[in-house]
């Protein structure tokens, strides 16, 4: 099966200013490669500074790569212009970490959802509104939320709205950047289970970034462990959790109090 998305030796470097006229290069993402199959979840695990968010921006064409290729449904997209990228945008959407800053404070939730539907030309306003309500229902939000502003609803509800927004153009994949990290532990499950259901119903592929191994465990089939821009370990979830090779992976697993023997064979 051709992968939905492939990253091939993706590298992103930033130039840093140093005192005097010297410059230094910061390598935020260092030759990262992976394949994402349709309907599957790739978990990217790493802590702050690991480059996982930068990787996301590279993949989603929000920032240009320094080197490497990003292949979406067989087509190289890293060198496309913004205009050329536009028709492809609806295939890839993102869910952000901080629900409060991921919504424009001056727009209601309904307006924000309508904004994403610009990627679906040919829909008139009435149909867009219907879709807004349908989307809210799918993420189990009361339709009255469409008239509320971001600061008027809770973090968990906002995060669901963020998922609804990402689903608006009917994408093939979602990039989820720490979507549960800003939420209470007792609420995280609501979002994770919702994501599981949506994946089953719609065949969505996910790239799920998190430092929380417990959460990644529920969703991912494959894992990528990143540290300071580099992939230190990669493989099927059971393999990485069950027999971590790299010491950093081992430290992460210990820190998350995960016990090897408890990896469930069924998933």
């Amino acid at each position: 099966m051709t992968p939905l998305l492939s990253a091939i030796e993706v590298t992103k470097q930033y130039r840093l200013r140093r005192p005097g006229w010297r410059t230094a290069m910061l390598t935020a993402v260092d030759h990262v490669s992976f394949d994402l199959e349709p309907g599957e979840t790739l978990g990217i695990v790493g802590e702050s500074g690991s480059g996982k968010s930068t990787l996301g921006r590279c993949i989603l064409h929000l920032t240009p790569v320094t080197a490497g290729r990003v292949v979406l449904e067989g087509r190289d997209i890293q060198a496309l212009s913004e205009r050329q990228m536009l028709p492809l945008r609806r295939k890839m959407q993102m869910v952000f970490q901080n629900p409060l800053t991921s919504f424009n404070p001056m727009m209601t939730i309904g307006q924000a959802l309508m904004d994403t539907m610009r990627l679906m030309p040919g829909l008139d306003d009435k149909h867009r509104q219907q879709r807004v309500f349908a989307l809210l229902e799918q993420v189990q939000l009361d339709s009255r939320i469409a008239n509320l502003y971001p600061h008027e609803i809770s973090g968990g509800q906002l995060q669901r709205a963020g998922i609804a927004r990402a689903l608006a153009p009917e994408p093939a994949m979602l990039f989820l950047d720490e979507p549960t990290s800003a939420l209470d532990v007792s609420i995280q499950g609501q979002i994770v289970n919702l994501l599981l259901d949506l994946q089953k119903d719609r065949g969505l592929a996910y790239i799920f970034v998190s430092h929380d191994l417990r959460v990644v465990h529920y969703l991912a089939q494959h894992l990528l462990v990143m540290r300071q821009g580099q992939v230190v370990e990669q493989g099927a979830k059971e393999a990485v959790f069950g027999a971590p090779q790299h010491p950093y992976t081992q430290t992460l697993i210990e820190a998350a109090h995960l016990h090897v023997s408890h990896v469930s064979p069924a998933t």
Binding site: S186, G189, V215, A255, H262
Partner: protein, 339 residues
């Protein structure tokens, strides 16, 4: 056997927070005892009031907050009755506090070593020279490598974990009787969190300081604390030893929370449905009732009273005994698996 008179006794503390025109009832009757030598964890999620409780003890509440009722007895003295001028000698000397963002707690314009030395000159009356020496020792004790060099550095030159250690050194420089740590490891890398929390335990043990750790991470604090108080929507739902609370909870909220952090795999990720009540409203019954799988009519109508299910283990629930008998987990399989 620690002294039976608690070092810190909070009795029915009520705090209101004024935000523009709304009044948030942030603390609705918090009762908590911390004995000398205890390593107490105050655990809760958003809206639980755990941070407010810590700030109340230090009398560091924002101007928009007001203590409307209750007492905070520190070594017998009611802190709520004291004037600011009487509190100041306590703060920093007998009761110290460390916060989540270490960088924000340190003065960016003063060298780290000097900030710590300041405490020694002020509270212990040492000379500059001696204080500086003590400061370096304190930094060494918190595991900062090359302490004498680092002491000359500024806060922005410290990494997150280092700055946290420096803050711990700073807080403990005056050998306080009580240390309140508000989310001391949040924001730190997962791999560092364990180190910092154990460091806190080791240092307070060595100085015989009583510790209160405020955290949302019950798993983390249970590695070092001997007692846990679980807070929800401004009240203490359950209070007891770590061992008993984690193995035999007597409160539905505690049981549900433990299920959420359990690392044993399940088909779907456990959670608690719904969300915290609106703190602007006063509820006649139990604040957890709207989300509780065991809730009956009485839970919505009447506020529960604290029930001692076994010595030293108190739960705020109409059905505390039943939850305790059922060992918590059985009744929660149903709730957890439900979507």
């Amino acid at each position: 056997m620690p002294n039976s008179v608690p070092l810190l006794a909070i009795r029915d503390l009520r705090v209101d927070l004024h935000i523009e025109r709304d009044v948030l009832h942030a603390l609705r009757g918090v009762t908590l005892n911390v004995g000398r030598g205890d390593l107490m964890a105050v655990v809760g999620e958003s809206g639980s009031g755990k941070t407010m409780t810590g700030l109340s003890v230090m009398r560091l509440l924002p101007a928009s907050a007001q203590i409307t009722d209750g007492q905070i007895l520190f070594d017998g003295t009611d802190l709520t009755r004291l004037q600011e001028s009487s509190i100041r000698p306590l703060r920093g000397k007998r009761i110290a506090m460390i916060f989540q963002n270490a960088q924000a707690a340190l003065n960016p314009l003063v060298r780290v070593g000097d900030q710590i030395a300041d405490v020694y000159t002020r509270h212990a009356g040492l000379s500059r020279q001696a204080a500086r020496q003590k400061a370096v020792e304190a930094m060494q004790a918190t595991g900062i490598p090359n302490a004498s060099e680092r002491a000359r550095g500024y806060p922005h030159e410290f990494s997150g974990g280092m700055a946290q250690r420096a803050m711990i050194a700073l807080a403990l420089a005056s050998s306080p009787e009580l240390l309140i740590a508000d989310e001391p490891t949040s924001g730190l890398d997962v791999t560092i969190q364990g180190q910092v929390i154990t460091l806190i335990r080791d240092v307070v043990r060595r100085l015989n300081t009583t510790l209160v750790v405020i955290s949302h991470d019950i798993g983390l604090v249970s590695t070092i604390c001997n007692r846990i108080a679980v807070m929800y929507a401004g009240v203490v739902m359950e209070n007891g030893t770590t061992a008993r609370i984690t193995s035999r909870p007597a409160n539905p909220y505690t049981a549900a929370l433990l299920r959420c952090v359990d690392t044993r795999p399940t088909e779907r990720m456990p959670f608690i449905p719904g969300r915290v009540i609106d703190l602007r409203q006063k509820w006649p019954g139990c604040p957890f009732a709207p989300r509780c799988a065991l809730a009956q009519q009485i839970c919505h109508d009447q506020a529960p009273l604290p029930v001692e299910v076994e010595p030293g283990h108190v739960s705020l629930c109409h059905f505390a005994h039943q939850v305790f008998e059922q060992d918590g987990s059985a009744s929660y399989d149903a709730a957890a698996v439900r979507n």
